[in-house]
Amino acid sequence: MIFKGQVAVVTGGATGIGRAIALKLADKGASVMIADINDEAAEKTAAEVKEISGKSSVFITDVTNLEACDGLATATAETLGPVDFLVNNAGIAGSSGWQSRSHSTEEDWKQTYQVNVIGMSNVTSAFRSQMTKRRGGRIVNLASIAGREGRPSLPHYSASKAAVISLTQSTALELARFNITVNAICPGLLWTPMWEQVGDRYAQDNPAFDGMSPREVFDTMVAERIPMQKEQTPEDVADTVAFFVSEDAKNITGQALNVDGGFFMR
């Protein structure tokens, strides 16, 4: 129980990768605040966390709304205590209907940046004083291997994730003097509800995937692009988050680590 007594916040913590992160941190003893817009799923995940570590709470948070983020920070401190680990995981791949469009619209660009980049900055700002006051804390930002290089599809998504890596580096330098580490994780190919939609879009964009189901597109990508020839899982990402927030990583900051079976090496 290496995180016993520690308080974690996971944005987008209700489902997918965020949920796996919340459960992993709980498994190691942390109390976890689930910040999400999906209240039903958030309550369900919070109940699971409570079963494991005893303490959890939910705050319905739209990360694009600065007031909501401040509310999240206050609610965390009041219900669980001041934050030790902030995991910025909330993210989207486009505006409504993005998966059925072959080109990114201005709305795709705006909303993706609003959530993935500005939302991340909003939440980080909201928790800043809780961490700086105590001269310590860990922030882990979820980027993507899409942010490591250009792609033929979903340019708005790739660009937003590249921005996440850059934001991680700036925040790391800004907060280093407060003994706060800030790192990013770039997950590779994970079969999540988001990827199901990505597969849909790739099948339309790329002749190589013509007529394939989303899962077939996904399996083809894994076979062709992942040296380890295996898909990654939310647990893989969660294990890496647990490393970055632990004492073991106290002198690691400003890094982006690919958890991608060797898809992208850097």
């Binding site: 129980m1 290496i2 190691k28 580096q169 790391a172 330098l173 280093a176 003097r177 003994n179 580490t181 590779g188 992942i226 040296p227 380890m228 020839q229 295996k230 990654q232 899982t233 893989d236 294990d239 890496t240 647990a242 490393f243 004492e247 073991d248 990583a249 106290k250 002198n251 690691i252 900051t253 400003g254 890094q255 982006a256 680590l257 690919n258 958890v259 991608d260 079976g261 060797g262 090496m265 850097r266």
Partner: protein
């Protein structure tokens, strides 16, 4: 709290690790960290006396350890190292290629590196990794399991004036790691690199001596003062890194917690270089 932590993460119980250059400095830190997490450790080094001390320390902690005199620049020697590990412990799960040098003997006294300095640096820092990896890969492939962690340096992350020998060899180490990561990935073997930042080790003491003799700004300072000054100027987190920090990063990358991570280079440097 420290013992609780150790008790919880026994990732390496029943496993065997080989640490080249494990007798001193960062290698020693890595060996002790893996041992604390349950691993048996073979210390592969040229310095028998220092290696014996680490072996004793590990044994006192309750896991098995032994020494194998190893010159990583010789393929026959790394072949022998792997054979000894298998004979002594019955299996080999983790190879940590840590052995490294800053130049040929006397490099700290030279302003400009000689051909011998280039040769010695590449022989150990690059070919040493290649040799040891080649010695172990067929065993790991056959088994369908293995973890290789190579120790490079943040010096390998970008060229700098001065000490180009060392920096270039460490950049090559990162690249070589990627090549083997690709090659071994289909066989369930992870190959990653750790790039340590500023760590007070026997090697850094030599580097500080070298800096003192080549840079006016450092004249009159002790090696330790040169080091501290470098830390103050370069590290965003404001503190030196330790051999334990590197040991812990290696322990993560060599564990099954990092099962989906391969071909990566992780800087453990307090934020000096971002990646």
């Amino acid at each position: 709290m420290a013992w609780l932590h150790v008790m919880e993460i026994m990732d390496f119980e029943g496993k065997t690790a080989v640490v080249t250059g494990g007798a001193r400095g960062i290698g020693r830190g890595i060996a002790l960290e893996l041992a604390q997490r349950g691993s048996n450790v073979l210390i592969a080094d040229t310095d028998e006396e220092a290696a014996r001390d680490v072996v004793a320390e590990i044994k006192a902690g309750g896991t098995q350890s032994s020494f194998c005199e190893t010159d990583v620049t010789q393929q026959w020697s790394t072949d022998d190292m792997v054979e000894v590990a298998l004979e002594e412990f019955g299996q080999l799960d983790v190879l940590v290629n840590n052995a490294g040098v800053g130049g040929a003997i006397g490099f700290t006294k030279r302003k400009t590196p000689t051909v011998e300095d280039w040769q010695a640096t590449f022989d150990v820092n690059v070919f040493g990794i290649v040799n040891a990896t080649q010695s172990v890969e067929s065993y790991m492939v056959e088994r369908g399991y293995g973890k290789i962690v190579n120790i490079a340096s943040i010096a390998g992350r970008g060229g700098r004036p001065g000490f180009a020998t060392y920096a270039a060899s460490k950049a090559a180490a990162v690249n070589v790691s990627q090549a083997w990561a690709f090659k071994l990935a289909p066989h369930g073997i992870n190959v990653n690199t750790v790039c340590p930042g500023l760590i007070w080790t026997p090697l850094w003491e030599k580097i500080a001596e070298w800096r003192r003799s080549t840079d006016q700004q450092n004249a009159g300072l002790t090696p330790r003062q040169v080091f501290q000054r470098t830390v103050a100027e370069m590290v965003p987190l404001g503190r030196e890194q330790t051999t334990e920090d590197v040991g812990k990063a290696v322990a993560f990358l060599a564990s099954d917690r990092a099962r989906s991570i391969t071909g990566q280079a992780l800087n453990v440097d307090g934020g000096i270089r971002q990646n």
